[in-house]
Subunit: 654 residues, 2 copies
C-alpha cells in the first residue's frame, strides 16, 4: 500500500476563518491597551463528535503561550474567546482545537438515556475511556478517575448515568484530557497594541516661530511654553510642530511661496538643514536642545504631548549633501536634482534617494535621527509625504523603533490614492490623515465614514481628522465663515476619536492666496504669523466645549461604534456613538448648511441606541446645557448656524 | 554598519489584494472551461514612478508560465488582465510587477515639455537610460535603441521630444526592458476549471428498480434505457441513480421504514453490500456490469450523463465486514456498531471508521471503488452525507481522482451547518445541495440567493437546487398542490444554473408518511414504485418548456449575474439574469402563493437590465409564447396559480 504524504498527514480537524485578521496575517491588526480583544474561529471536523478549542495568546516579549478557553457560540461551528490586552506591544495569537472524546460520550449517554435505550455497552465504553484518561492524568487525579471508571462500568444504569454526569468528573477529565487530534493554526497572527493616545486625542498644529508675544519677533521653543495654558484650556492633548530644524538658505522661499525672498524671510521649515545642522539639530532662532527638553517636560505637566514632524527631504545646504553626496539623485552633469512634481518645482529642497546604492547606510542614519528625538522625549511623529518613500523603508523603520520604544507611534500624511493610504496603515503607521477635509455633504460624509468604520479598514486604519492644515483651507471654510468652522470642528471631533486643527482655525481664518486655491494667503509656511487669540469671532469656547464633551464621554473615544440616523432633510446629518454597555450614548446632529437655518425630523435607529417607539428620554446638549425631553424615535430639530449649528447630545434618563 | 536581514531584502514593489482568491489561496477558486478569467491586483511603490505588471498563468500539466500584460484600470493602483481558461484542470496564476523606468522618464518629458521648461539634462538622462536598455536588448534591437540614444542626446529639443515619444521606440524598449525591481507574488494561486456540466445542468433522480414497464416487476438497468426518450424530451442532462449495489439482508428495512420487512421487500439501496458484493458490484436484479456500460453509452447518445451515488456506509453483510473487520467501529463486546444518530438508529447499516488505525488502506480502497466506476464511464458522483466523514478524506480523494480524470466532479449532499457546507465546497466538491428546499418566501429566497451569488461564496460554492429528494417533500409542496410544484420547479431551474428533481415531482406527488414529516408515504427508499408518467395533473409540459428556455437562454447558465427586482407585493418575486454583453436578458416573475392569484407592479432595476424610464421593450413569455410591450421600469403583472404562476420572460426589442 503506497501512502501519499497528504494521506499520511491528513488533519482530523480544520480551523478556518480566524477573525480579526487582515491580509491573511501579513500585517497585524491594531488595538489599544485595555481593549477586550475578541477572537472568533470556525472549527470543523466531519461527523458528530464534540470538539474543544482554545485561544492561545503570547504576550509582548514572552516566549510562552497562555490559553483562553473558547466558547461554542453559534450552531454553526463558531468559537469565541476574549482576552484583555493589558500591555502595549506585539501580541501573537492563534487557535488550537481538538476532539472532546469525553464530551462526545457524555452527550451520547444523555441522549440515549432520555430515549430510554439500553446503555450497558455504552457504559463499558465509558469505563474504558476513563481508564485511558486516567493514564494521562496527574497522579492525584488518576485514582479519582479510575474510581469513576470502576463505578460507571459496574453500577446500575441510573446510578452509572448519574456518575457520568457529575461535575466533579467533568473537571477531572478536562484537566486530564489528552486532547486527541490536536491542531494549532500556524503561523500565529499578530495584534499590535498601542497606548491610548494612538486612538483618542485632540491635536493642535502650530509654528513655534509665530509664538512670540512680542510683535515682530521670531518666536522660540520657550515661547511655545507660553501658549500651553491656552491650549490646555481649549482641551488639546497633542501639539504637533512642523520641522524645527535649521532652514536652508539656497533658493529659500519668500512670502507666499515667492522665488525672490526678502533678506529677512524665514523660509519654509520643510527645507531642512544648513550649516547649523540637519535633522537632528534645532534652528538656533528657536532655541537649543535644552529648550526643547524643557518644552517637552513642561508640556507633559499640562497633560500635553509634543509631536514632531519627520520630513526626509533636505535643503541644498544640509550637511548630508556635503557628507553623503551618494544619498542624492544627480543630473547627468553631476549636480544634485531638486525635488519636483512636474510642472511644480521645489527649488529649496533636494530629494534623498532612499533606494541609492548604499541605502542601508541611509536608512540606518534616518533611524538614528528618529531615535535621537525619541531619546529627547518625542513619542509621536507626523510623517511628511510617506507615500513618496519606499513602503519597505517605513515597514523597517517603524518595526526597528518600536522594538525598543513600543510607545512611539507614527501619523502618515498620505493624501494619496486610497490603496496606498491603506497599505501605509497596514505596514505600521498608527494613524492616517484622511480625505475628511474633502468630504462635506451628508452623503459624502456618511459614505466615507461607513468605509472607515467597517472591516477590514477599521482593524488597521486609524483616522486623524484634521479640519485644516497649512496646506488645506477647503472652499467650504473659505465660503462658510464662522458657522462653517464650528460645523467642521464638531464633525472632526465627534466622527473620529482623533482629530486636529492648525493654528488660526479657532479664529476662522479663511482667506486663500487666490480664488480656487486651497493655500492660505500669507501662508505661515513662508512667514511668521502672530495672532490675537481673543480676536472677535473666535470659536475658542465652542472648541473647549467640544473637547470637554469628548473627554467626558467615553463613547466618543471609539470609531467602530459609529451609527448614522435618518434626518428627513439632506442638509442635516445625525449620528451616534455608544459604549458597549450602553452606559454612555452620544447623539450628534449637525446642520451642514453654514448659510441658513435648517430643520428636520430626525428618525433614530432605535437598535443603535437601545431606544424604542415608546421610549421617553432626555437629550442633553453638552454645548449649550439645554435639555429636551424626546419621545419615540422621530423628533424635531431646528439648527440656526448664526447661533449654534450643532447639537452634541448626551442621551440621559428622563 | 549592521544590516538587518529585513533591511537587505527590502522589496521595492508590493503586490497586494490579488482577486479572485479564497481563504488566502488555501483552496482554488472555480471556473468553467471557456470562461474569461479576470484577475485584479493592487501594485504599490512609494513615489511617482510608472510601474508595469503582468498576469502569469500556468496551464494544467505545464511547467512553464505564460505572461498576460495587465492594464492599469483605475487611478487607485489597480491592474487587471483577462485570460480565457480553455482547458479543464488546475491552472495556477500570480502577478508580477516592476518599475517601468522608460515610461517614468517619458512621462516626465511630456509633462515638462508641456510646461515649457528646459529639457537638456533630462535628454542626457534619457540617452543614458536607452544605452542601458540597449545592453539588455536582443542583438537586432540593440543598434536601433543605440541610434535613438544618440539622437535624443544630441538633437534639438523639439526633435528630441519627438524621438522620445515615437511608438517604435516604445516597442523596442518594452522588449528590452530589464524590468527593474521585479517582484512576483509567491506562492501562486490556483483556479480549478471544470467542464460545463459542473455549472449548468438539469438533473433527474430515479430508482432503476422502479422503471420496469411490467407491473409488479423489479426494474433493471436495461429498463432505465426505456425512460431515456422521455427524460430527453423533458430536457434533462443528468440522471442520478441512488446506489445500484447489492442490498444487505440483515435488518433489511421494510416498506415505510418498517423493522419487520416482508420476505419480498427490496430494502434500502443505501444499505450497501451482501454476498453478491459491495461498492464495486451491481445488484443482480438490476443487471450486470455490461448492462451498466450499455446504459451509460445509450444515455450518452441521448445527451444524458449517468451520475452515481457514493455512499460509504455498509450493510452488516458487506464483504468488507468479513474481510476488513479493522475498518469498523466496535462495541466493547467486540461486535460491530450500527450507525446511529441518537435516538435515531440505522439498523441496516454499520459505520465505516475512516479514522481507523489503518485508514490509509481504507482510503485507498474507497479510491479504487470510485475509479472502478470512473473506468465504467461515470464522471459525476453524488456523495451521500459527506459532512459525517473526514474533510481530509474528501480533499485527498477528490485530488487523487481528478489528477488523472479532471472531468470527474462531485456533488456534496451536505444538509449541515453553513460553515461545513462551505468548507466542503472549498476543499473540492464541485457542487453542493443547499437549503433551497427550505427557502420558500420572497425574503427567504432573496436573502439566500444574495448570499450564494456574492463573493466569496460565489467563487467556490456551486448550488444544485433539488426541488425535492427521496428524503425531502417540503410542506410547501404537500400543501400547495400542482401550482406549488410549478412554482418550485421554475424557481430551482431559473435561480440556479444547476437544479434537479426526484421522480414523481412531475406528477405532483405530495403525500407525506404522516402530518409534519418531510418523508414520502410509501417511500421509494424502501419499495418499488411504478408510475403512470402521463397521469392527469402532470406538469411534464411545464418542465419541458422551462428546460428548453434554460438551454436556449445563455443568461440562465450563470449565477453571479442574478439581480432581484421590486414587485410591490411580497407574494411575488422578480429577478433577472443577463449575459455580460446584454445580448440575452431573462426576467422571471413568480407568484409564490400557490393558492390565490396575485398582482403587482414590478419595479425593475434599470441598471441591471440596461433599461431606462423611457424604454419600450417586449417581454416574451417563453412558457406561453405571449408577448407584452412594456414601457419604462414599472409594469403590471397578474399571475393566477390555477393557470400559470410564472412568467419566464425574455426581454426583446419591440
Amino acid at each position: 500500500m503506497t501512502e501519499t504524504p497528504a494521506l499520511a498527514s491528513a488533519p482530523h480537524i480544520i480551523v478556518v476563518d480566524i477573525q480579526p485578521t487582515i491580509e491573511c496575517g501579513e500585517h497585524p491588526v491594531k488595538r489599544i491597551v485595555g481593549d477586550v480583544f475578541t477572537v472568533r474561529a470556525v472549527v470543523l471536523k466531519g461527523g458528530y463528535e464534540a470538539l474543544g478549542a482554545e485561544l492561545r495568546v503570547q504576550r509582548p516579549g514572552s516566549d510562552s503561550w497562555d490559553a483562553v478557553p473558547m466558547r461554542y457560540v453559534y450552531e454553526d461551528d463558531q468559537w469565541v474567546a476574549d482576552v484583555t490586552l493589558d500591555t502595549i506591544g506585539a501580541w501573537r495569537y492563534t487557535v488550537a482545537a481538538w476532539t472532546n472524546t469525553f464530551s462526545t460520550w457524555r452527550t451520547e449517554i444523555e441522549r440515549k438515556h432520555a430515549a430510554g435505550v439500553d446503555l450497558s455497552s455504552e457504559m463499558l465504553e465509558g469505563a474504558n475511556l476513563l481508564r485511558y484518561y486516567a493514564r494521562h492524568a496527574q497522579p492525584g487525579a488518576r485514582d479519582s478517575i479510575m474510581a469513576y471508571a470502576e463505578a460507571i462500568g459496574t453500577a446500575s444504569r441510573d446510578r452509572a448515568v448519574a456518575f457520568a454526569l457529575e461535575a466533579r468528573l467533568q473537571q477531572l477529565v478536562t484537566q486530564a484530557d489528552p486532547r486527541e487530534d490536536l491542531v494549532v493554526h500556524e503561523p500565529p497572527y499578530e495584534v499590535w497594541v498601542d497606548r491610548e493616545r494612538a486612538r483618542f486625542g485632540a491635536w493642535y498644529e502650530l509654528f513655534p516661530r509665530s509664538q512670540s508675544p512680542v510683535p515682530g519677533e521670531h518666536g522660540t521653543l520657550r515661547d511655545v511654553e507660553g501658549v500651553l495654558p491656552r491650549l490646555r484650556d481649549l482641551g488639546f492633548d497633542v501639539i504637533y510642530l512642523p520641522p524645527i530644524h535649521p532652514i536652508g538658505r539656497t533658493n529659500r522661499k519668500g512670502k507666499n511661496n515667492s522665488l525672490a525672498p526678502a533678506p529677512d524671510d524665514v523660509g519654509s521649515p520643510w527645507a531642512i538643514g544648513n550649516e547649523d545642522g540637519g535633522h537632528d539639530a534645532i534652528e538656533p532662532k528657536l532655541g537649543t536642545i535644552e529648550d526643547f527638553d524643557h518644552l517637552v517636560a513642561t508640556a507633559r505637566e499640562y497633560g500635553i504631548e509634543i509631536a514632531l514632524d519627520f520630513a526626509i527631504q533636505c535643503s541644498p545646504d544640509h550637511p548630508y549633501v556635503r557628507e553623503h553626496p551618494e544619498w542624492f539623485r544627480r543630473r547627468p552633469d553631476g549636480t544634485i536634482k531638486y525635488a519636483e512634481n512636474p510642472p511644480k518645482k521645489y527649488e529649496d529642497i533636494v530629494a534623498v534617494d532612499l533606494w541609492c546604492e548604499d541605502y542601508p547606510a541611509l536608512w540606518q542614519e534616518l533611524k538614528r535621527v528618529v531615535l535621537h528625538w525619541v531619546e529627547h522625549g518625542v513619542r509621536i511623529f507626523r510623517v511628511d509625504n510617506p507615500h513618496t518613500k519606499p513602503l519597505a523603508f517605513w515597514m523597517w523603520l517603524i518595526e526597528e523603533v518600536r522594538r525598543d520604544y513600543p510607545d512611539v507611534f507614527f501619523l502618515a500624511e498620505a493624501f494619496t490614492r486610497p490603496n496606498l493610504l491603506h497599505e501605509l496603515a497596514r505596514i505600521g503607521f498608527s494613524q492616517s490623515y484622511t480625505y475628511f477635509t474633502w468630504r462635506n455633504t451628508r452623503i459624502e460624509l456618511e459614505d466615507y465614514l461607513e468605509e472607515l468604520a467597517s472591516p477590514p479598514g477599521v482593524e488597521y486604519v486609524r483616522p486623524n481628522f484634521f479640519a485644516n492644515t497649512p496646506d488645506i483651507l477647503h472652499e467650504y471654510l473659505q465660503d462658510g465663515g464662522r458657522p462653517a468652522f464650528k460645523i467642521r470642528h464638531a464633525l472632526a471631533a465627534t466622527l473620529s476619536p482623533t482629530y486636529g486643527i492648525y493654528s488660526g482655525f479657532e479664529l476662522c481664518e479663511n482667506v486663500p492666496v487666490r480664488m480656487g486655491s486651497e493655500e492660505y494667503l500669507d501662508s505661515e509656511k513662508y512667514q511668521i504669523r502672530q495672532r490675537d487669540w481673543d480676536a472677535p469671532g473666535n470659536i475658542n469656547d465652542f472648541i473647549a466645549a467640544v473637547n470637554r464633551a469628548r473627554k467626558e464621554n467615553e463613547a466618543l473615544h471609539f470609531l467602530a461604534n459609529l451609527r448614522f440616523h435618518r434626518p428627513d432633510n439632506p442638509a442635516i446629518i445625525a449620528y451616534s456613538k455608544s459604549t458597549d454597555d450602553g452606559g454612555n450614548r452620544v447623539l450628534v446632529v449637525v446642520n451642514l448648511d453654514p448659510a441658513s437655518p435648517q430643520e428636520a425630523t430626525v428618525l433614530l435607529d432605535g437598535d443603535a441606541l437601545g431606544l424604542g417607539e415608546g421610549s421617553t428620554y432626555v437629550v442633553h446638549d453638552l454645548l449649550t446645557g439645554d435639555r429636551y425631553t424626546w419621545n419615540g424615535l422621530a423628533n424635531y430639530v431646528w439648527l440656526d448656524p448664526a447661533t449654534e449649528p450643532v447639537h452634541l447630545f448626551r442621551i440621559e434618563a428622563p
